[in-house]
């Protein structure tokens, strides 16, 4: 048991001693001890450390409850005083709250434990290596390492703990203007040889960007979307695409699939693959997720992600989704296109390394728009001809992963989410690339 888990456990045990009558207390801890080093032009822009422990409490009695959160100081005396004060405040708020018909309390979920052993990261050495290996290059990006903690505890006895201890270096090499190659390197232990190999590959790709760039005219182009680009597409669809509440309130972008018989290509199979992901297998209210939830099967809608609250509201069993009912570990099955010869399969068209800033141009029709970004090339007869200047696409998912989908690659990439809003993300995806006919570009 790590020091943080022990601290959490002792604090929760003490908090439970403050309960009275039929009160139930659930506690969720989200914390990190992270180092962040930000680079620009192969120099350091900002470097530092963040240590935080956010404790969320839900104080329940019958069908009334009130929730709150606070930052722990990591000093038992101070934290016990703060928790006691919050419990009193929640007790008072609860009296003013009406009954909550959709309150869901975890009563029969198992306790779980999933923790990496501590890793002795050495960011100072890593910085040296990055700046040395990238010497002469315009490197920009963020290195992050350290421990991430998620814990759940209920006064009913359930305990869940997740702890990872990883690094993630999300970086780009810039050539000039907006011409750049994006890359990432993450894992448990920094491997100098692996990093150097990635730098070598990126440098090689950068050479291709040195050719004069092409301005493409708006129109429809045969396009290969890298796994990273596919991830961006699925990320926008995930804004309501797979959650039960969005479906029941008709706000899902996949409304045409649900209401109008539309479908995706039969080769599209999508799961929320918690077992294959990198995050915790439980959510904020302590509900444990199954290993897999099938979201799209053979191009058709399958199950939805169901939060405990939606479960109560719509009478459908929960599958441990978070309150937002968005996937955290999306996995797509591979297809039959050879990854090694994907340029030959593309023939003449666009090779898109990344998509950027996607949004809906018509949500009900799942029509999305966004930009190409980073390494995007014009290809003729299977050969890279020139980098392409950024283009805006505007097309429906029913074209891109439906009627116009030529195929998916036979290999997929594991992509770790480098997001750090509030704290370091534990989300990940495993996706193939996609070859699309006639993708619509508008500007």
């Amino acid at each position: 048991m790590s020091d943080v888990q022990t601290y959490f456990s002792e604090l929760v045990t003490w908090a439970n001693s403050r309960l009275s009558g039929d009160e139930i207390l659930t506690c969720y801890l989200a914390g990190e001890d992270s180092n962040f080093v930000r680079f620009n032009r192969n120099l350091i822009r900002q470097a530092g450390s963040v240590s935080q422990r956010r404790l969320s409490l839900d104080l329940i009695a019958g069908t009334r409850h009130a929730a709150g959160s606070l930052q722990l100081s990591q000093d038992q005396q101070m934290d016990r005083a703060a928790v006691a004060s919050m419990i009193e405040s929640l007790r008072e708020q609860r009296r003013a709250m009406p009954d909550d018909p959709y309150l869901a309390v975890s009563t029969d979920n198992p306790s779980t434990f999933d923790a990496d052993p501590d890793t002795d990261h050495d960011p100072a050495t890593v910085i040296d290596e990055i700046q040395t290996v990238a010497k002469g290059r315009d490197l920009v990006g963020i290195y992050a390492d350290g421990a991430v903690y998620h814990g759940f505890a209920s006064s009913l006895g359930q305990r869940n703990w997740y702890q990872s201890d990883t690094f993630n270096f999300d970086w780009s090499f810039y050539l000039h203007g907006d011409k750049a190659v994006k890359n990432s390197y993450g894992g448990r232990h920094w491997d100098s040889a692996a990093f150097t190999a990635k730098v070598g590959a990126a440098s090689h790709q950068l050479d291709s960007l040195a050719r004069p760039a092409l301005d493409l005219q708006p129109g429809r182009y045969r396009t290969y979307l890298s796994p990273t680009a596919v991830q961006q597409l699925l990320q926008i669809v995930s804004w309501g695409g797979f959650g039960l509440k969005a479906h029941r309130t008709k706000q899902t972008p996949l409304l045409r699939m649900a209401a109008d018989g539309a479908g995706l290509h039969p080769s599209v199979n999508l799961t929320e693959d918690t077992a294959g992901g990198t995050g915790p297998n439980f959510q904020e209210q302590g509900f444990v997720r199954p290993d897999q939830v099938t979201l799209i099967e053979g191009g058709n809608l399958a199950d939805q992600l169901v939060s405990p609250r939606s479960s109560k509201e719509y009478g459908v069993p929960t599958n441990g989704a978070s309150n937002f009912e968005q996937p955290m570990a999306t996995a797509m099955t591979t297809g039959s296109l050879s990854s090694a010869t994907v340029l030959d399969e593309l023939g003449t068209g666009l090779l898109v390394g990344n998509l950027w800033y996607l949004n809906f141009s018509d949500k009900a029709a799942c029509r999305t728009t966004g930009m190409t970004r980073f390494a995007t090339f014009w290809v003729e007869d299977g050969e890279v001809v020139a980098p392409a200047n950024v283009m805006r696409f505007d097309d429906t998912i029913y074209n891109l992963l439906g009627d116009k989908l030529v195929g998916l690659t036979d290999e997929r990439e594991t992509l770790l989410d480098a997001g750090t809003y509030g704290g370091r993300s534990t989300a990940s995806t495993r996706l193939p690339g996609a070859l699309v006919d006639d993708m619509a570009f508008t500007l």
């Binding site: 470097a47 929730a67 709250m97």
Partner: protein
């Protein structure tokens, strides 16, 4: 949620000051505590209430040509001391290898407090819930409303900056974020109408709701959702676009605010938020828009969401023109970014906009209140000048390239304009353009009667990532010959 900060500071301030390390070139400690409450009523059911307290401190150390920070929620003496030692170690590690080695030494002493005329703390939780129950009920105007919600988020943010240069900056900000939506559905068609998306936000207490007609708007939003369900799709073509303030805020934010951020221009954001089509040599001469375009950085506007007296490095803030009569004057860059630009041989005057979203993130160049100054046209003048066009209200979708040039925006609610008259409602009104040329098509700027001081509470940027509120005040504006289109159906 109670306002106990001054008493807390009395206890905390000596310990924060004691944590500032000696023997270094310069150091700061920035404490912040955010107390928040979120309430919502959805389809007649009160959602779980949520209150939070988020307190911590960041210590930043400049020493020997290096700089580092350490942020901690451990506010004990030993916790603060450990953070100071960690920041000092980072400064040693980064010495001689940073993009900037000169600290923004601050010796200012000052304070700021949001103007509040009707404090939330004088209402009860029951009062606040009842307010939302009534609004939620008022949204329910038709059986085709399949989802609806009224919500209220408010935050009290107290911050205290102490520096080894003798600086002491205390700022107490009180923010109110009301929200509503109604979703209407018929078969495979869904339309959602909101209360200005998230734009109707401001500093202050309950008066913020009155400022934006919260009670009045609820029923209107429900009816407008039904109107959209029955409306025709927006037509496609080149026509004039008249933008309401709750769309102008996104247009300003994405295609003026972000491109003018000096850290983007200097390259810091290229791995994430992107670069800028604006370059350092453009300031003072580049024609950004038509003569009608006047844009200011205005931290002094009372009640706007990003008003303050000092940025998070402690630099005093004041109103400055960014674009005057269409010509670009200065970027959005704080003290450090200005020094970096100067070191590149391109000195520019900036503004005090180095801001952090919380104690656990370092300050970076940010928008604050970025406003379009009112012109002279009445709303009727603006519409009368359109032969064929559309009046677009309330941003619904936003997308722009990483140089902040090629954009596409969609709105919730449109009305056709024909021969100078407002016509029928259309759904999915959208337009696209290029920042570098779009603002030159500005052909009419509304007078103060058409202007609203709004904001965007969820601006994401930075590595590690940060979300922060930015303010945008704008009159109604007209743009000529724009590429307009509708939805897929």
């Amino acid at each position: 949620m109670t306002t106990t900060a001054p008493a807390a500071y009395q206890h905390l301030e000596p310990r924060l000051r004691a944590a500032l390390p000696g023997g270094v070139d310069y150091a700061t400690v920035r404490f912040s505590e955010t107390r928040a409450e979120y309430l919502a009523v959805r389809q007649g059911v009160a959602q779980p209430t949520s209150t939070s307290v988020d307190a911590g401190a960041m210590i930043t150390v400049w020493s020997g040509g290096g700089v580092g920070y350490a942020a901690t929620s451990d506010l004990t003496d030993s916790g603060l001391r450990a953070a100071a030692e960690q920041a000092t170690r980072w400064a040693a590690t980064t010495a001689g290898r940073t993009v900037a080695d000169t600290p923004p030494t601050i010796e200012e002493v000052g304070s700021y407090q949001s103007p509040v005329t009707d404090p939330w703390d004088q209402t009860t939780l029951t009062d606040r819930l009842e307010l939302l129950v009534e609004a939620d009920a008022a949204l329910d105007v038709d059986q085709r409303i399949v989802d609806r919600m009224a919500a209220l988020r408010r935050t009290d943010v107290d911050s205290l900056i102490l520096t080894t240069g003798g600086g002491r900056i205390e700022q107490l900000t009180r923010n109110t974020f009301p929200y509503m939506y109604a979703t209407a559905n018929s078969g495979a068609l869904t339309q959602t109408r909101t209360y200005g998306r998230n734009a109707n936000v401001g500093q202050g207490g309950r008066e913020v709701l009155d400022r934006f007609g919260f009670n009045r708007r609820a029923a209107e939003i429900g009816h407008e959702a039904i109107e959209l369900l029955e409306a025709a799709n927006c037509p496609t073509g080149t026509m004039d676009a008249v933008l309401a303030p709750d769309q102008m805020i996104l247009q300003i934010h994405e295609s003026i605010g972000h491109p003018l951020e000096l850290d983007r221009i200097l390259g810091d954001e290229r791995n994430y938020a992107g670069t800028s089509f604006v370059t350092l040599d453009m300031f003072g001469s580049y024609r950004y828009g038509s003569d009608l375009l006047n844009v200011t950085f205005d931290p002094d506007m009372e009640g706007q969401i990003a008003s303050y007296r000092f940025d998070d490095e402690g630099t005093p803030a004041s109103k400055q023109f960014l674009i005057r009569n269409g010509v670009l004057e200065r970027p959005l860059g704080g003290t450090i970014s200005q020094a970096r630009a100067s070191a590149q041989g391109l000195a520019v005057d900036g503004v005090a906009n180095s801001r952090a979203c919380s104690w656990n993130r370092p300050p970076i160049d940010r928008m604050a209140n970025i406003n379009v100054e009112p012109g002279t046209d009445t709303f009727d003048d603006l519409i009368a000048g359109v032969e064929s066009g559309v009046f677009l209200q309330t941003n619904n979708s936003w997308s722009i390239d990483d140089s902040r040039n090629k954009f596409q925006f969609s709105c919730e609610y449109g009305r056709l304009i024909t021969d100078g008259e407002l016509g029928p409602v259309v759904r999915n009104p959208s337009y696209r353009g290029i920042s570098a040329t779009f603002w030159r098509s500005l052909s009419g700027v509304g007078d103060p009667s058409t202007s609203q001081a709004l904001g965007t509470p969820n601006c994401g940027k930075g590595e590690p990532n940060q979300v922060i509120s930015t303010g945008h005040a704008s009159p109604v504006c007209r743009f000529s010959s724009i590429d307009v289109f509708g939805g897929a159906q």
